[in-house]
Symmetry: C2
Subunit: 238 residues, 2 copies
């Protein structure tokens, strides 16, 4: 059986094909079975909103395939992207645990698949399985650190060029290799990059031009190559 959007449905995406450290991995047999009973799987097209900022929390989503962007907006329409989520990430956990509205919106950036666990079932599950509650606390704590990294970026970094350099470096280091000249596939528009670093699309365009001219990076189609990593690092700390 084929999924729509050319996506292969994963039979049990709670089993973490990618990473080991995820929230719902390596549970006791009992807990794992229970979790399988209360979850439900769905497939989402590109652009689908898993949830929207301000909604009452219905439950958590465990992303199995595809990427999602988390963003928050002001009334005037200004938007910042706070996180790009990948397979294995748990979305909406904070809202569910504290029973507050979702603090961000989650939008699929490509077709994907996610498990949904309703709020009530999850909370009951956590009450029944104290060990998992502690894991949840650890996960919330990690989320908190990510949020703090964001605060540091937004609050301590003044110039767009600095934030841009920081973002480029985070992309190039993420994929394991530390030689730092690994090509990165660019899947974001300038507009989206602008929303990540809190500036305008035009400024991002100019930053690309500028950095290319200064031999800091190179673009072949949508493939990005870091050309002068030390110089970028110098811009970041400056």
């Amino acid at each position: 059986m084929r999924a729509p959007y050319g996506l292969n449905i994963l039979d049990n995406c709670l089993t973490c094909p990618v990473r080991e450290e995820h929230l719902f991995c390596n549970l006791s047999v009992h807990a794992g079975q229970r979790l399988n009973e209360i979850k439900s799987t769905a497939v989402y097209p590109k652009g689908a909103m898993l949830f929207i900022e301000g909604q009452q929390p219905r439950g958590v989503f465990v992303l199995c395939a595809g990427k999602a962007k988390l963003s928050t907006s002001s009334r005037e329409g200004k938007t910042i992207i706070t996180k790009l989520s990948e397979a294995g990430d748990v979305l909406g956990l904070n809202s569910v645990v504290s029973n507050r509205p979702y603090e961000v919106s989650a939008e699929m950036m490509e077709p994907g698949q996610a498990n949904f666990i309703p709020r009530d079932s999850l909370l009951q599950f956590l009450k029944d399985h104290g060990e998992v509650a502690l894991r949840v606390a650890e996960q919330l704590s990690r989320n908190y650190y990510t949020a703090y990294e964001e605060i540091r970026t937004l609050g301590l970094t003044t110039s767009p060029s600095e934030k841009f350099a920081k973002l480029l470096l985070s992309w190039s280091t993420k994929n394991g290799q530390n030689d730092g000249t690994t090509p990165v596939k660019l899947t974001l528009t300038h507009e989206e990059i602008a929303e990540i670093i809190g500036t305008t699309r035009e400024t991002v365009s100019r930053l690309f031009s500028d950095f290319k001219k200064r031999q800091l990076l190179q673009l072949k189609g949508s493939t990005l190559v870091i050309r002068n990593r030390p110089a970028l690092e110098k811009i970041v700390q400056s």
Copy 2:
């Protein structure tokens, strides 16, 4: 026996004289006793650092008396204050739970008293008392929301005047009364306010002048009175 700095020592500051919703209140008798065994109380002068950004987490501090400011700094010396903590707040919880370095520094803004709970003891305590682990998760979740509020302020609010107005409003609404014209005692320097809203001292000075001229607020000594709350709210949303 008198404490130094003219402070009255509170015999058991885990019992939350102020608010009810705190982390370690209303525990079971057994858990409460255990908590009392592993905690230790100390008194701190103004300016004392409870912990410093980047240090390995030694434990959590439960603030009993006095106020503390949490801040993070960049290498170049720029500092932002991310939170002002009061009696009842638990500091350092995230670091302890996830065993990562403290993400902020905590400095006493006035003489005060705090309970210290060592990391190992706390983690063992949480393992033994699953109910408390869930409370911890809820607390972490609240912290996360506070952090997100900060992200929204830093990322979506462009002008210093907007952030300043936001800050003034948050001060005036905090103290219960919602008539909004309640006087607020100003205990922060312009420099500190600048570090909260991410601007310079001079700009804060000018904002005060400007807002006074526009009849938005009034200053009698260190007492602040909001004069035109709707106008401030308009500046915030703008």
